[in-house]
C-alpha cells in the first residue's frame, strides 16, 4: 500500500539519508531504527506529507502522492513526538478535540472507553498540564480506537510509557495490522510486534 523510491532528505547542507526504498503491503509494519539525528523523524514527516523529500517519490495505494495530498491525509494518523495537547483542557476534552479534528468518533461513551483502555479513567477531568509525560502520551495514543486510518505513522510512541503502556501500544499496533492497516514506527525501544508482519529499516 505504501511505497517509496530512493527517498533522500537533506537538512541544510547535510544529507540525512538517501536511497530509502521500501514497499509495505497491507497488514505490515516497518520499524525504523538508527542513532539520534539519523533522520527517523524526517523520514516519518516525509511519509506523512509534512516535509518535501530532497529526492525520490512516495506512493500510496499505487498512486504517487505529493506533500499535503488530501487522499493521503484522509487515511493517515500521524503521532509526532510532541503530543498536541492543550494544557488548559482536560484529558477528555483534549482527546475529543483531537479525535474530531480527524473526523473521528467523539461520543462521550466512546471517549470514556478509549481513556479507560489507556488507564486514564481517573485523570479524565484533570487539565493536561498536571498530567505526567507518560499520561500525556497515552492521551495521544487513545486516538487509535477513535480515528480509523489505514496508515499509522508513529514517532517514538513508546517514549515515557511504562511497561503496561508499551504492552497496550504493541497490542494496538498488532490489532491494526491484523485489520489490514499499515504502520511505520520510529523507535529506539524493542517493540513486541508480530514478527511475520513487521520489518525493520536502519538509518545510519
Amino acid at each position: 500500500m505504501l511505497q517509496t523510491q530512493n527517498l533522500a532528505a537533506r537538512r541544510g547542507e547535510t544529507l540525512l539519508f538517501s536511497e530509502v526504498s521500501f514497499s509495505l503491503a497491507a497488514g505490515t509494519a516497518l520499524v525504523i531504527g538508527g542513532p539520534n539525528g539519523s533522520g527517523k523523524t524526517t523520514l516519518l514527516r516525509i511519509l506523512a506529507g509534512l516535509t518535501q523529500p530532497a529526492e525520490g517519490m512516495l506512493s500510496w495505494r499505487g498512486e504517487p502522492v505529493r506533500p499535503f495530498d488530501p487522499r493521503l491525509r484522509a487515511e493517515t494518523l500521524f503521532i509526532g513526538h510532541v503530543p498536541a495537547l492543550k494544557d488548559e483542557l482536560t484529558a477528555l476534552e483534549n482527546l475529543a478535540s483531537l479525535a474530531s479534528l480527524h473526523g473521528g468518533e467523539v461520543g462521550a461513551e466512546r471517549l470514556r472507553e478509549a481513556l479507560a483502555a489507556w488507564s486514564l479513567s481517573r485523570q479524565r477531568s484533570l487539565p493536561a498540564r498536571v498530567l505526567s509525560q507518560g499520561q500525556r502520551r497515552r492521551i495521544g495514543l487513545a486516538r487509535f480506537s477513535l480515528v480509523s486510518r489505514a496508515l499509522w505513522l508513529l514517532d517514538e510512541p513508546a517514549t515515557a510509557l511504562d511497561d503496561a503502556g508499551i504492552a497496550s501500544l504493541c497490542a494496538a499496533v498488532a490489532a491494526h495490522l491484523a485489520n489490514g492497516g499499515v504502520a511505520v514506527i520510529a523507535t529506539h525501544q524493542e517493540l513486541a510486534l508480530p514478527s511475520a508482519a513487521s520489518r525493520s529499516l536502519r538509518l545510519t
Binding site: 516535509t51 491525509r73 492543550k86 473526523g103
Partner: protein
Amino acid sequence: MSAREPVVGAWPGVGWALGRDVRLALRSKAELGVQLLFYVIVVTLFPLGVGAEAQLLRALGPGVLWVAALLASLLSLPRLFAADFADGTLEQMALSPYPLAALISGKILAHWLTTGAPLAVLAPLLALQFGMDAGESAALLAGLLLGTPTLSLLGAVGAALTLGLRAGGALLALLTLPLYVPILVFGAGAVGATHAGLGAGGELSVLGAALLAAAVGAPAACAAAVRIALD
C-alpha cells in the same frame, strides 16, 4: 481496510477551530483581560497627557482610539499560531482531512471574537473621554466592527510568516503595522467625516471592501505560510 473518501467540507473545519480557540481563550481569562486593559490604559493616557482642552481632545480622539486598537491587536498576534506550532497541534491540523485554510479561518474568527470584538464594543465608552457625540461614537463602533476583523486577518498572515523565527514578535510588528495603515486611515476618517457632517458611508464601505478582500485572501496565504513553517 477499504479506501476512504477524503472528508470534504470546510465549515466543520471552521467550526472545530473556532470552538476550540474560543474555549481555550475563555479558560485563560487573564490573557483576554490584559489586552482590553491595555487598550483602556493606552487610550486613557492621552487625555491625561495632553490636558483637558476639549477642542484638542476632540481632534485627537479618532486617531488615538484607532492607533490603540492597532497596538492592542498586535499584542496577542504572536501567540495566534505559535502555541499550536510548539505543541504539535498545527501539524495535526495540517494533516487533518479538513482544508487547512478553513481551520485557520476558524482560528482567526476566534481571535477576532476574543480580542477585536470586545475592544470595538468598549471603544464608544472610551470615546466619552474625548468628548465625542453619539453620531461619532456610532461611526467609531461601526468602523471598528468592520476594521478589527481585517486587522486579525492581516495580522494572521504576518504571524504565520514569522512562525518559528527568533525575535518573531518584533518582526511581526514591523511586517504588520504598515499593512494596517489603510484601515487606520479610513477607520479614523469615518469618525472625522461624521464630525464634519459628511456621513461615514464612504469610509465604512471601503472598510467593508477591505474586510471582504482580506477574508478571501488571508486564510489561504496563512495556510501556505504554515506549510512552509512545518516543512
